[in-house]
């Protein structure tokens, strides 16, 4: 482990079952390690367990089995409020459907990314303005989402995800609602942010998009069937 950079995310033998008769096994023995500064694609067809994996990594859902460690925090040991605290500081989300607040400006939407850290409004806005400039929307700060294009909205959402400088940015089908030209620009933006040091995990069903990213983890029926880094099913985790 000495030659490695600090792992930001570690999954060890993670399984997730959904109740039913018989129970639905959405994830099975998933082991994965993502280091500081990586840009990873998690690829898979619909029903492969991508969304479940996203929820487990994002701590929106708890695994049935196995261990999830984010920024050295063992998720299983945290209470519900503890997980919320982890999300507020360590994880940034980008959603396919943006999830922006329509009634407030781009600036305030981005500032919402810091809302649950207890930072004062003035400071939040100042940091948010920086983040908006980083995604190339310095000129659109006071526009509200309904006045913006799809690509611009997704840039606002990305700015909101990175505004708190989280350990991991989780992007769930970030280009799913965008045309191909806009998609390419968004992927370019993610690459730029990664080049600046952000650790980003992109979940997508789009193999072409995934092919442009440095590392691809392929899911099939809840199992990791390929990892271009070459540790399929056998990531060693320091315990």
């Amino acid at each position: 482990m000495t030659d490695r950079r600090e792992p930001r995310l570690q999954l060890l033998d993670v399984g997730k079952d959904y109740p039913g008769n018989p129970p639905v096994r959405a994830l099975d023995r998933v082991s994965l390690s993502v280091d500081d500064g990586e840009l990873v694609a998690i690829v898979g067809a619909s029903g492969s367990g991508k969304s479940t994996l996203l929820n487990v990594i994002g701590t929106l859902d708890r695994p049935t089995r196995g261990e999830v460690i984010i920024a050295n925090q063992r998720v299983a040991s945290l209470s519900d409020a503890g997980l919320a605290g982890l999300r507020s500081r360590r994880i940034g989300f980008v959603f396919q459907q943006f999830h922006l607040l329509e009634a407030v400006s781009a600036l305030d939407n981005v500032a919402t990314g810091l809302l649950y850290q207890g930072i004062r409004s003035g400071r939040r806005r100042a940091v948010a303005a920086d983040a908006l400039r980083r995604v190339g929307l310095g000129h659109r700060m006071n526009h509200r989402p309904p006045q913006m294009s799809g690509g611009e909205r997704q840039r606002v959402a990305i700015a909101r995800a990175i505004v708190g400088d989280p350990a991991i940015v989780l992007a769930d089908e970030p280009t799913g609602n965008l045309d191909s030209r806009t998609s390419a620009a968004i992927v370019e933006l993610l690459r730029d942010l990664n080049a600046d040091g952000a650790t980003i995990i992109v979940i997508t069903h789009d193999r072409e998009l995934a092919a442009t990213l440095p590392r691809r983890v392929t899911l099939h029926d809840g199992l990791v069937v390929d990892d271009t880094l070459g540790h399929v099913g056998a990531v060693e985790v320091a315990r």
């Binding site: 969304s51 929820n55 994002g58 929106l60 859902d61 460690i69 920024a71 050295n72 925090q73 063992r74 998720v75 299983a76 040991s77 945290l78 519900d80 409020a81 503890g82 919320a84 605290g85 982890l86 999300r87 507020s88 500081r89 994880i91 989300f93 959603f95 396919q96 459907q97 999830h99 607040l101 329509e102 009634a103 407030v104 919402t112 990314g113 809302l115 649950y116 850290q117 207890g118 004062r120 409004s121 909101r160």
Partner: protein, 403 residues
């Protein structure tokens, strides 16, 4: 950062500043203004009706109390009751003199109902149900009565065939003023009308009477003067004490054959009757308020369903269940408070308009306005509790998923 999973560092907890909680709690209201206003109106109607009921009855009571104050509560009235056999008793002839001897009694006057009728003239059969009362000149002072036309009986006119009319009596006899020297006929004799009284709110029986002097009654009608009512004014601080000793003073042998009353009690009873009506109306206002509260709960539940995505987003941004619950309780409470503010204003306006129209003094109870707003706030918080819990219990993974 070294010991995984063992940290309880408060710096890593989610935190929401109070000011941010308030802004977040009104975010939903600001983004749906039309719905906010319509929902608030429900509460506003409840609060407005309660404030208006309190304001109007308080204005009406303020008016009544002012009237009572003006008329005084120190007028007492003594009448004969009935004896042990249920027969009508009589007041002793010397009763007025005995009463005047009670220390705190300022003055007293007696009236005697005469067994005779009064008409406009001899061609008229109708006696209008009016009484003919023999009395003394100081009755004017005792009753604190005011003359609208002419003058009252005095030492001179009390011995002459002259009458003074109560306000109702004058109206029924068709005598509006003293122009042309109107007269009335009592037991076949003509009496000149020398005065007409203003209405006496405490003594409606005097309003319906024709007053003549005691001496004139004896002289021209051959009447025997036996007091049928004695009015007296007592020192305001000793009214109760005077009241207690009156029966014994008037008729020491048979105190229970004397009825003592205070005419202003009737007005005060009217104020109390208003109180019952007020409680009923308040109850109705409360029902309206409750319906408004249910409306808020409904709208909040719909809002939670519609805003799954927002709730999921906030959870993913680090909001705890508690933060989400607080947001929706605050939203519900501020919605209701808005309704309370509108309602209090509306209620005050209705009170003002109604009291003005009735010619009452306007008395808007400030406490009721404040209570209206606070009641709305509390109701809103309660109404928001269940929707807030539903919002807090939403599974974040479900909530962020596209519907």
């Amino acid at each position: 950062m070294t010991e995984p999973g063992k940290r309880r560092d408060p710096a890593h907890r989610s935190r929401l500043l109070l000011t941010d909680a308030l802004t977040t709690g009104t975010h939903g209201l600001r983004s749906r203004r039309g719905r906010t206003f319509l929902t608030a109106i429900g509460i506003a109607i409840g609060i407005a009706s309660m404030v208006a009921v309190l304001g109007i009855s308080s204005s009406s009571r303020a008016d009544l109390i002012a009237e009572i104050d003006e008329l005084g509560t120190n007028l007492l009235q003594v009448r004969p009751g009935s004896d042990v056999l249920g027969e009508g008793a009589k007041l002793p002839e010397e009763a007025p003199a005995m009463i005047r001897r009670i220390g705190p009694v300022d003055n007293a006057s007696s009236v005697s109902t005469l067994d005779t009728d009064v008409r406009r003239n001899r061609f008229v059969e109708n006696t209008n149900g009016l009484d003919v009362l023999a009395t003394e000149p100081q009755l004017l002072t005792t009753l604190d009565a005011a003359i609208s036309h002419g003058r009252f009986l005095d030492a001179g006119t009390a011995t002459l065939p002259t009458v003074v009319l109560g306000s109702v009596a004058a109206e029924r006899l068709g005598i509006i003023d003293l122009r042309g020297g109107p007269t009335v006929e009592i037991a076949g004799r003509i009496f000149a009308v020398i005065g007409i009284l203003h209405p006496l709110p405490l003594n409606p029986d005097i309003d319906r009477s024709v007053l003549i002097g005691n001496v004139a009654a004896e002289q021209f009608l051959g009447a025997e003067i036996i007091p049928t009512a004695i009015y007296l004014r007592a020192d305001p601080d000793a009214v109760e004490a005077v009241r207690r000793v009156l029966s014994r003073t008037v008729n020491p042998a048979n105190p229970n054959e004397v009825e003592v009353s205070r005419p202003s009690d009737a007005l005060e009873a009217r104020a109390r009757v208003d109180e019952n009506l007020q409680n009923l109306l308040l109850g109705l206002g409360g029902v309206a308020l409750l319906v408004g509260g249910v409306g808020i709960a409904n709208v909040m539940i719909i809002s939670v369903l519609e805003r799954r995505g927002e709730i999921g987003l906030r959870r993913s941004l680090g909001a705890t269940r508690r933060h989400v619950a607080v947001q929706f309780v605050l939203e519900s409470a501020s919605l209701a408070t808005l309704g309370g503010l509108i309602g209090s204003g509306l209620g005050a306006a209705v009170t003002y308009a109604y009291a003005e129209q009735q010619g009452w003094r306007v008395d808007i109870p400030i406490a009721a306005l404040g209570a209206g707003v606070v009641a709305a706030l509390v109701l809103g918080a309660f109404a928001g509790l269940y929707p807030a819990l539903r919002a807090a219990r939403l599974d974040p993974a479900d909530a962020v998923r596209p519907a």
